[in-house]
């Protein structure tokens, strides 16, 4: 089996994540969409690393996984802080900059 099915699979997951990011109202739901997109990127990295024989892709997958975990922890801390200040986590109620 070639590289192509893996790339198509990761593209599909990425686009589903993008759909989630654009349509969710809840900030936590948006973060879930971002996680899906990051996940698709990881599949791509590992697939290219395995099919080209360059191991750097797998090493950078370790890095991206760690960065994603840090990002999720910080993002959720920000969400909790937002909830404490504004009493809502709905993205369309967070419009202080709207003017």
């Amino acid at each position: 089996m070639g590289l192509q099915p893996y790339i198509l699979l990761s593209a599909t997951v990425f686009c589903i994540g993008l759909f989630g990011v654009t349509t969710r109202r809840n900030t936590i739901g948006i973060l879930l969409g971002v996680e899906l997109m990051m996940n698709a990127v990881n599949i791509n990295l590992v697939a290219f690393a395995r099919y080209t024989g360059v191991a750097a892709g797998m090493i950078f997958t370790v890095f991206t996984i760690c960065i994603t975990v840090t990002e999720a922890a910080l993002g959720l801390a920000i969400v909790i802080l937002l909830f404490r200040v504004r009493r809502t986590v709905m993205a369309d109620h967070l419009d202080l900059l709207k003017g």
Binding site: G2, T22, T23, G29, N39, F63, I65, V69, L74
Partner: protein
């Protein structure tokens, strides 16, 4: 043949659970579907001979992130009272953008020649990963440690109790 069947099953699981993550009405269910999607990704890593990455994926993602997200939902969701609808007015636009992007990537990918076979593996991939992380890629590795420390401090600072 077995490879194709396994890949098809993994793809159906992954795409199905990803769709459930973005479409499910209840945010809590969405997180549980995300756990399934992340586990499916670990399966894809196993198919690509990356056992170590599959283990990391299960430990950090399916273990770590799901726990944090469940905590965040429990803290922020009003569990009683009326449930707000989870999606906004942009479903058509979002679907359009996602489908156009998918079509674009699919066209590019199908038009370009991609490798059909994997190069032969020599030696243990996990051992190789560990060795290059501590030799050639030691600077990004240390920077990653600093990043995680900064992230941890930031998360503690944001989530501190009110004075």
């Amino acid at each position: 043949m077995t490879e194709q069947i396994t890949f098809a099953a993994l793809s159906i699981t992954l795409v199905g659970s990803a769709l459930a993550v973005v479409l499910s009405k209840n945010l809590f269910h969405a997180v549980l579907w995300l756990a399934l999607a992340l586990t499916g990704t670990a399966g894809v890593f196993l198919m690509l001979d990356a056992e170590f990455l599959a283990a990391v994926q299960l430990l950090l993602y399916a273990g770590g992130i799901i726990t944090i997200v469940v905590f965040a939902i429990v803290v922020t969701e009003r569990l009683v009272g009326e449930r707000l609808t989870q999606t906004n007015m942009r479903i058509g636009g979002g679907a359009f953008v996602a489908l156009v992007l998918l079509g674009f990537i699919a066209t590019v990918v199908t038009r370009h020649p991609l490798p059909m076979t994997r190069p032969e593996m020599n030696g243990d991939l996990t051992r190789m990963l560990g060795q290059s992380v501590l030799t050639q890629y030691v600077l990004p590795f240390e920077l990653l440690a600093v990043l995680m420390l900064a992230g941890m401090l930031g998360a503690i600072y944001f989530a501190r109790p009110e004075e």
